[in-house]
Subunit: 272 residues, 2 copies
């Protein structure tokens, strides 16, 4: 008897194909509360963090791989569904010419501030109006590397569950906590407990190197082209600046966050 949790899909017009493709668009992701992650490595990272996709999609013709077998087993064990399809259809779902052989559908996480466990780490990254999904994913990846608790997205940022952000995070979307909030919500939440807000700034700032960082430290970077609103900088406990020896007056937002995060990591009392 065929396992009802395994299906083969052969037609481009199949509703599941349409559903999977729709998850490349933010409005459909939000409506479904789901997102796509692609690639065996990313899905294995997710599994090892206890995040198993609800639906796993892979090519019919594929080389056997122990990690893929482990993933399949985990999906079926947790009551999920495994779908096999042609490489053409898989390409159409992933939007890539040369698709990695597997994609998974996950439920979006709770991204409220209330869901964050502030005791998790002494370092947090905060981005304001970050528009580029690659920068967003890179910040998640950096957060994982420095042992940050997570990434807090202030105001209108790129969607952390978009395919490009998930890909750039290199799996950190599954290890870092993620919250989304307006500034008006974030500031009272921050001030309700101990926490130092450190703004990457060009105004009235001290050198970032050896600045008096204090745990837990919330590292705030602004929008790619506008930087931080002045009001946000003035509400910060510390404004720090990095040397700018050339013509440019700013760094890439994800780069600025990383340089600051590594400085904070090196100078804060050990968190382990």
């Amino acid at each position: 008897m065929p396992d009802p949790r395994r299906r083969q899909i052969t037609g481009f017009s199949n509703p599941t194909v349409k559903y999977l493709r729709s998850l490349r668009e933010k409005k459909h992701r939000k409506a479904a509360g789901k997102f796509l992650a692609e690639g065996l490595r990313l899905l294995t990272d997710a599994r090892e963090c206890g995040r198993v996709p609800e639906m796993l999609v892979m090519a019919e013709k594929r080389d056997p791989h122990p990690l893929l077998a482990a993933l399949e087993a985990a999906v079926l064990d947790s009551g999920g569904e495994v779908i096999e399809t042609s490489t053409d259809i898989l390409s159409k779902i992933t939007g890539k010419d040369n698709p990695q052989a597997v994609a998974g559908v996950f439920a979006e996480f709770d991204t409220s501030l209330a869901a964050l466990d502030r005791s998790r780490s002494n370092i947090w990254l905060v981005a304001q109006a970050l528009r580029d999904p690659g920068n967003l994913g890179t910040m998640l990846r950096t957060g994982d590397a420095v042992g940050a608790g997570g990434l807090i997205l202030i105001d209108d940022c790129a969607d952390p569950f978009g395919v490009e952000a998930v890909r750039a995070s290199m799996g950190a979307v599954f290890t870092q906590a993620i919250a989304q909030a307006r500034w008006e919500e974030f500031l009272p939440w921050l001030r309700a407990e101990t926490g130092q807000l450190v703004a990457a700034s060009l105004r009235d700032a001290v050198p970032y190197r050896g600045a008096p960082y204090a745990a837990p430290c919330f590292i705030l970077v602004g929008n790619e082209s506008q930087g931080l609103p002045e009001e946000y900088e003035l509400a910060s406990d510390l404004r720090v600046t990095m040397p700018m020896r050339g013509r440019a007056d700013s760094l890439n937002a994800a780069v600025a966050a990383a340089v600051l995060a590594y400085e904070v990591l090196a100078t804060l009392p050990a968190t382990d």
Copy 2:
């Protein structure tokens, strides 16, 4: 009498439109020896660095702007050509729905190692098989910020003259020297004079913080997914590693280069 160096283009099939569009593809850029840069800010940065486009393309219907007027004058003064066209055609050239109102064509620079002036700075960035044009542009931007001499691209990297790399560089493509070389050429060039090669590494490496950096310091980062070949690391004078507190074993390549470059900047004898 009309100025022959000013032209209006009204048809999509105009050969100049085809030529400009073709510059979005690497093979056509290489054949022509030219590249495109877009946006008033970028082109103004270029002009202020003494790089004036050979050809300037802008929308017929545009708001007057003193920087645009300055750019137009500079192009005409240097014997270049100014082209006005419709916003539709401009969109087709730039490949963007909402094109910035101006694009320029530049001659590609000499990217031979021999053209580099090593005395220019104590910090140089070196990338090996860097595939992502956004990462490449971000490295140029970081190089500008730390006062690096330039970026040396080893083996098969993304094209520094591609539109995406130029854009991500935020003008640093015009301020940083750029060289392209095979490893077999690079190593003898490096060793012909004083220079410390520092590899971002996971193998047999010392902590990046406070490592014995020496000027001129060449900071080497590897391919986004493979990292550096072992042989390249072993040929380096110093292998340094950054803390990895999470699940990931690596940083984004442009982020790793930036964290290292700022550490080197802070610890090397001042270069000014």
